[in-house]
Symmetry: C2
DNA sequence: TATATAATTTAGGTAAGCCTAAAAATTAAA
DNA sequence: TTTAATTTTTAGGCTTACCTAAATTATATA
């Protein structure tokens, strides 16, 4: 049996290291930061997760998920994104409200429930924030995504996804009129503060560096 | 903040004392039995719930819910029954599978979620087992229900509800062809073992005392 | 390379929910 | 009414998931 807390550690580890971006290995402090606990607590939990063969970890060494740990993490992420889709598509929740509730729903244990939910939603391939939903076997159609901060000035892009976990950010995106799937052109980026200007169906929009880091696009 | 465990204690107390049947006050051991914990654990929790003004309780005295405690219990029961309805009506779960999953879902915290779910389901008045769903203000349309074991031989009844928490019982009910809303006549009851015979659309069906105690009917 | 800074680990502690075993109070039986 | 059985409460412990403070190791800087 794997606890709700353990699931959250595995999910955090996945997002920090094995995740989409495929960043470097995460450290104790970074994990602690991400989970809003202290590094000492993370260390305790890592020992337990190692015991259970869900992570690989040596003292002062790097932390990584085992195949089993990764599978569990992906399962939780799949549930999270299906629930977000349910709340958005079926119950009419707003973009910025669904993540928090999905953080709870993702821990409900029932294989049948998630199967049936998937079917009920029509086997969606992305969640309302544009994030890919892994299938029942934990497979990802790996999408190539670039943060707007890394995009090339002059290029035309399609908005693929947005960061899902900050309501204030999402409210600002809603106000800006930007939507998943929108076609935009990166008009300019300031060398001073990273401030960007994009054109979206003929109108201009200012995007800060902070904002741009949370918006993911793909060339088109 | 009220924990998942505390919610389960309040719900158990409600079902044992303030509930539908409106039975006598529950004792420590009865509560313990119902929650599958030991009486000593119940005692610990009762002290905490008294602190929080959710139950009234004096040493060696009777246990009862405060208005606040009762309200919380009803809220959880409302959520439980709405989720059961969702699983049954929308996801096509079987009668005997929904209770267990609803035991988890009933603890999800989001006022908006439960409001929207209620609307999505079309404001159902009873759950799939025939139990009344309290409204958003915690009000019950109090239904008069008699266990089949207490019913009068010769009378015609309508099946109102069945006990929801035993999959094997529910599977047996499904096999017997008995459904919520069905019109039945209690043909006979043995003075020896309480065994009953009912007629349901012209066919005869044998019902044990154990079974009859879990089937609730109303005169019609 | 030596030293300062930062990250990690250890040690010792807390609160929630559970347990067993024993003591105390209540209730039922003789 | 006295004794026996049952129920409830107390005492002391355990596990999970946190914490702070101090020690240790690793990394960056001079
Ligand atoms: Mn999310
Ligand atoms: Mn979570
Ligand atoms: Mn139920
Ligand atoms: Mn419950």
């Amino acid at each position: 049996m794997i606890s709700l807390t353990e699931e959250n550690y595995l999910k955090a580890l996945f997002h920090l290291s094995a995740g989409q971006g495929g960043k470097r290995e995460a450290g104790t402090s970074e994990l602690a930061e991400h989970l809003s606990v202290k590094p000492a607590s993370v260390h305790d939990m890592l020992k337990k997760l190692k015991e259970k063969k869900l992570v690989e970890y040596e003292k002062y060494g790097k932390i990584s998920l085992t195949t089993s740990g990764r599978n569990r993490a992906v399962e939780v992420i799949r549930k999270h994104r299906l629930w977000e889709t349910f709340l958005y598509d079926k119950l009419g929740f707003n973009w910025d409200e669904i993540h928090e509730v999905a953080e709870q729903l993702e821990h409900i244990r029932s294989a049948k429930l998630i199967e049936r939910l998937d079917k009920f939603l029509g086997y969606p391939r992305v969640d309302p924030h544009g994030d890919v939903i892994p299938n029942a076997r934990g497979e990802w159609p790996k999408q190539v995504r670039t943060a707007l901060t890394e995009a090339t000035v002059g290029q035309v892009y399609k908005v693929l996804a947005v960061q899902d976990n900050s309501p204030v950010f999402l409210q600002q995106v809603i106000k800006s009129g930007l939507k998943i799937g929108a076609r935009i052109r990166l008009v300019d980026r300031s060398a001073f503060d990273g401030m960007m200007e994009i054109s979206i169906n003929r109108s201009r929009q200012a995007i800060s560096r902070e904002m741009g880091g949370c918006i993911f696009v793909t060339e088109c």
